[in-house]
């Protein structure tokens, strides 16, 4: 009655857009628990250093402490008092990290923490002596993710935690050696597939309802039910749940996951993670619970899975595999009964979730104990263990009886309510009896395999006499849930406040039947009796049954998946084969041919040849062009590297001249300086290589030449068609008009670089920085290879320069002058050709000159000597970013320049930005000289080889 009243009050609250009155904001508790769990994971590596495998006890205590923290909050849940906490997360999308503890969450939170504490207490005696940091960290992280999953009140948050549990599961499965990789991959791919479905569902729901706040969505089912997305969303949710909870046909990953160590199987793959799918279905029951298609889908798949899993379980000889299929089967029952959706059915779902977690975790732990003690978990090798391990046998019997649904265990209560719930299925008039019948069938098989577990290990003659009862510390974690299963049968009323509250979260406003141990002479009791009788009968004919089951045709587990996976790999290989080649040629031929095709298409579409725009050529262009063409063709055809380099320099100079003719002095100057540095870098790079290019077969040369010519024609045609036919760009005109006014500079190009389009420049500077650091790292490896045990930066000797003294003297005179010029160019950049690039390139040439003269960066000139690539690049980038952020601090867009007058001269933040660019460019040049200039012994050897015999004896 109280519950009903509370439910009515809740319904009123939920019916409006406002949060229900009973919601309390309790940020400390909920986030505290999540952070506490993360904190536990963080300190695990420290604890394992002290305690080794006994760390599990500390973690168990931590889990229990978290239960203690949550208890006051959980205690108020039956009064429909929901607590909630939120943090801003993605405000643009209206997503907040909201967590919320209601009845349904509370059930799962207690499962996660309670079973978690038991498993953690089980680990120390199960694991071998050692630290096991990885296992403990992953288990704790998994618990944190699972907690987050069941507490999340925001769909995006729910999705994130959902995926985190998958990832933790993957690493925990894959952690037990090479043989587990396949199983781990299978589990990952299948559950990630479901995760993708969940993501799609989340996106669709947010699009349809306009919110990601779960309670609002659940309170207004019509938002989804009346939208065209009702079935896509429903299907995706079901897909996500079925993959996570191992329903047909996605069940294959769960038995495979049994390669993981027993604590993992017990915790993730029996008690908690596989229930996440059930949790998702339960969560969305307020929306979809009334839909016939939803009910039918869950019923059919769930019951099919239940019977299929139970039959396969009965076939297993490996106890762990048996338990895995049993889990598949029980999850099927849960799915089916959740699908029915009546108050009885939902109550049964919650009760059976709890009961299953209790007995299945117990059984896994006990099978682990048997495995450890007897060295096997195959029923064909085990026998008579009850004589040496009576306590283990007793506990196994308790848990197996609970699983079989025998009174007075909690499994009996939950099984009875399952029958009752399934009997209420009303998809069609005959659905109830059929569903209940299927449930009974699965339960008969369950009874049979429950007996099989006990009998397989403990009955019969004793074959391993040297065995003895495990230490009580090993047994205790399994004993607690086993005994709890016994006590909670008659004492099931203890669970009522929580189950009722959880059911009300799934079906607001209904009258929830309390769980009772004794229903009286109800139909369910007769079904239970029938189940037990039929199960016993099945046990008596087990020989025939076994032969029948073993003879049944079967495919190796997961073959369907493995085939599909291999097929996907083949498809991917086929799709990407064109990109799989090793040589640049095969990569580039496609794009080149494609470009030509595009041009031909454009020509056909335009139906006329491109014509030159009037007034775009001047008389002075032609001599430059002739020089350019000759040098370019020569550079392309040269066989000697050095000749190609010289001609390439000539090309650069003519292009630079062309830029000067085109009214771009800044560009011309920059290119000229870059050409000098490129030439130096190229010389440094190629001097360790053969002096001729590698030969290319004649036929290939001809083909590439033909292809190149066609592409050249295309480029020429495109240039002709697209340039000079329009007036100056509007942006360009704007800059010419307002550059001075807005930035105080006269050199419009420079104001663009450091002001208007500074973000471009920042990006470009970053590219340069990356190139410089790449150079440093790339050639550090080379230098190490060449020069073991020596400073890799020690550069190539300047000894090769015969008139080195002349260079050195010239350098000492010129270097200060060049640095001064560099500073001058830097500061005048705002008004005339110059700026950060050009100034840095001039300084870079000074650095290069120093290398030629002295064989190392700087020689004896103080400033240059102390230049190092990494600090220059890093400092420059940081400076650029700081300038950009200073604008943000002023409340203006990133990188907005500002300037003031100092002593009558305008001083702009752009100048500081330009300084950052200067530093990065200089850093790149230093890196080039430093790294490409390095000359290891392999190289020195090459140049000195003729004199080597004379020196051979004198070498140290």
């Amino acid at each position: 009655m109280v519950a009903l009243a509370a439910a009515v009050g809740r319904e009123e609250g939920d019916a409006h857009d406002d949060r229900p009155v009973g919601v309390r904001a309790e940020p400390m508790i909920l986030f505290g628990v999540l952070v506490g769990m993360g904190g536990l994971a963080a300190v695990v590596p420290v604890i394992t250093r002290w305690l080794g495998r006994d760390t599990g006890y500390v973690l168990a205590a931590g889990f229990l402490a978290l239960i203690g923290v949550l208890t006051p909050a959980v205690a108020t849940v039956p009064d429909q008092d929901v607590i909630e906490a939120e943090l801003p997360w993605l405000p643009i999308f209206g997503v907040t990290a909201t967590v919320r503890l209601d009845g349904l969450s509370a059930v799962f939170v207690l499962l996660v923490l309670g079973v978690g504490a038991l498993i953690m207490a089980y680990c120390p005696r199960y694991l071998s002596v050692g630290r096991h940091t990885r296992t403990y960290v992953l288990l704790t992280l998994f618990a944190a993710a699972m907690l987050g999953l069941v507490l999340a009140a925001d769909l995006v948050l729910l999705f994130v935690f959902w995926e985190l549990t998958t990832i933790a599961s993957f690493f925990l499965i894959g952690g037990s050696g090479a043989h587990s990789a396949r199983a781990a991959t299978r589990a990952l791919v299948i559950t990630f597939g479901g995760g993708l479905a969940l993501l799609a569902a989340v996106v669709l729901i947010i699009v349809e309802t306009g919110t990601s706040y779960l309670p609002d969505i659940l309170a207004q089912p019509e938002l989804i039910l009346d939208s065209p997305m009702i079935w896509p969303v429903g299907l995706l949710l079901v897909l996500a749940a079925f993959t996570k909870s191992a329903q047909l046909p996605f069940h294959a990953w769960l038995p495979g996951a049994m390669v993981a160590i027993t604590p993992v199987s017990a915790y993730l793959h029996a008690a908690t993670m596989v229930k996440a799918g059930i949790y998702l279905l339960m969560r969305f029951t307020p929306v979809y619970g009334g839909q016939v298609a939803w009910q039918a889908g869950l019923l059919i798949i769930g019951l099919a899975t239940a019977i299929f899993g139970a039959a396969l379980a009965l076939r297993q000889h490996d106890l762990k595999a048996l338990l895995a299929y049993s889990t598949v089967s029980q999850l099927g029952l849960l799915v089916a009964v959740t699908g029915v959706g009546t108050p009885h059915a939902l109550t049964a779902a919650v009760a059976h979730t709890v009961a299953h977690a209790l007995y299945k975790a117990t059984l896994f732990m006990l099978v682990g104990i048997i495995d450890r003690e007897a060295g096997s978990r195959d029923v064909r090798e085990l026998s008579g263990l009850r004589r040496v391990m009576p306590v283990t046998a007793f506990l196994t019997a308790l848990a197996a009886l609970s699983m079989a649904g025998v009174p007075p265990m909690i499994g009996f209560v939950s099984k009875e309510s399952l029958f009752q719930g399934l009997g209420e299925a009303d998809v069609t008039s005959w659905a109830g009896p059929v569903a209940a019948g299927a449930g009974v069938a699965a339960s008969i098989l369950t009874f049979a395999y429950s007996v099989r577990i006990f009998r397989g290990a403990f009955a019969g003659p004793l074959m391993q006499r040297q065995l003895y009862e495990p230490h009580w510390q090993f047994l205790a974690p399994a004993a607690v849930p086993a005994v709890a299963g016994l006590v909670l049968g008659p004492g099931v009323a203890v669970l009522n406040p929580l189950t009722i509250s959880a059911v009300l979260d799934m079906a607001p406003g209904v009258v929830v039947p309390p769980l009772v141990f004794w229903h009286g002479l109800s139909p369910e009791l007769f079904l239970s009796a029938f189940t037990i009788a039929a199960g016993l009968l099945l046990f008596t004919v087990r020989g025939r049954m076994d032969r029948l089951l073993q003879a049944a045709p079967s495919t190796p587990e997961g073959m369907l998946f493995d085939r599909g996976f291999a097929g996907a790999h083949r498809l991917a290989g086929w799709l990407t084969r064109p990109g799989d080649a090793r040589t640049p040629v095969s990569h580039l031929t496609g794009p080149v041919v494609g470009l030509v095709g595009l041009a031909v298409g454009a020509l056909v579409a335009a139906d006329r040849l491109p014509t030159p725009a009037p007034g775009t050529s001047r008389a002075l262009d032609w001599p430059v062009l002739v020089l350019l063409v000759v040098a370019t063709i020569g550079a392309a055809l040269a066989r000697r590297v050095l000749l190609a380099l010289i001609l390439l320099g000539l090309v650069g100079i003519t292009v630079s001249a062309w830029f000067a003719l085109a009214g771009a002095p800044d560009v011309a100057l920059t290119l000229l300086l870059v050409e000098v540095l490129t030439a130096v870098a190229a010389v440094l790079a190629v001097r360790v290589m053969p002096d001729r290019f590698p030969a290319v077969p004649r036929r290939r040369s001809v083909v590439t030449a033909g292809l190149a010519t066609v592409l050249g024609l295309v480029a020429a045609g495109g240039t002709l068609a697209f340039t000079g036919h329009r007036d100056r760009s509007r942006a360009g005109t704007y800059f010419l008009q307002f550059a001075e006014e807005e930035t105080g500079g006269h050199n419009v190009v420079n104001t663009l670089l450091v002001g208007f389009r500074a973000l471009d420049t920042l990006g470009e500077t970053t590219v340069l920085g990356v190139a410089a650091l790449g150079l440093v790292l790339l050639l550090r490896e080379t230098a190490r290879r060449d020069l073991p045990g020596d400073d890799p930066i020690v550069p190539g000797p300047p000894r090769q320069v015969s008139n080195r003294a002349v260079f050195q003297v010239t350098y000492r005179v010129l270097a200060p002058a060049m640095l001064t010029l560099s500073v001058y160019l830097f500061f005048r950049g705002h008004y005339a050709p110059g700026g950060g690039f050009i100034a840095a390139l001039v300084a870079g040439i000074a650095v290069t000159f120093g290398w030629i003269a002295h064989g190392r960066v700087g020689g004896r000139v103080p400033i240059i000597r102390s230049l190092r690539a990494a600090p220059l690049v890093g400092g420059g980038l940081v400076l650029c970013l700081l300038v950009g952020l200073s604008a943000s601090l002023r409340g203006e867009p990133f990188l907005t320049p500002t300037y003031t007058y100092l002593a009558g001269l305008p001083v702009s933040t752009s100048t500081l930005f330009d300084l950052g660019v200067y530093l990065v460019v200089l850093g790149l040049v230093v890196a080039v000289v430093d790294r490409l200039g390095g000359l290891g012994p392999a190289v020195a050897h090459r140049f000195t080889r003729p004199v080597e015999p004379a020196n051979a004896g004198g070498a140290p």
Binding site: V592, P612, A613, T616, W622, L625, T632, A636, V641, L642, L645, L648, G652, V655, G663, A664, P665, D666, V667, L671, T678, A682, V683, A685, M689, P690, R692, P694, A708, L711, G712, A715, A716, G717, T719, L720, F722, T723, R726, G732, A739, V748, V749, L752, R757, V767, V770, A771, T782, D790, R799, Q800, L924, P937, A938, A940, F943, T944, G954, A955
Partner: protein, 138 residues
Amino acid sequence: MSTAIAVGVLVAAGTYLILQRGLVRIAFGFILLGHAVNLVLVASGGLQRRGAPFIGQRPTDEMADPLPQAFVLTAIVITFGITVYLLALARASVGSTEEQADEPSTGPATAPPADDAPPAAPGGNPGRDDRPPRGGAA
């Protein structure tokens, strides 16, 4: 017209080089392609107006479009960065199997590296330092 010819020749030569063997030629081809693209960019400002865009030096009407010039400045420096990185890659791969296979069998470089097993300290053996490296005269 002149620009179009220049761009065509540069693209053809650059493509030809990129399709050859060896990273150095690919780097060289990349340089040529870079020039071509920069020419196109500047030309896109319209080559009818060719005055340098310095405010106060000439009427605005005669000034070239500054925007493509800024683009090209950025592009030149990035091209430089990529070129030296490509050259560094080529340099780093000296001694790797691919490059060795490409080397002509007649070079002095084919001597086994074991010859210099006790590496001379840099500069510590003046007798070895007389010969200039290739390209040193550039």
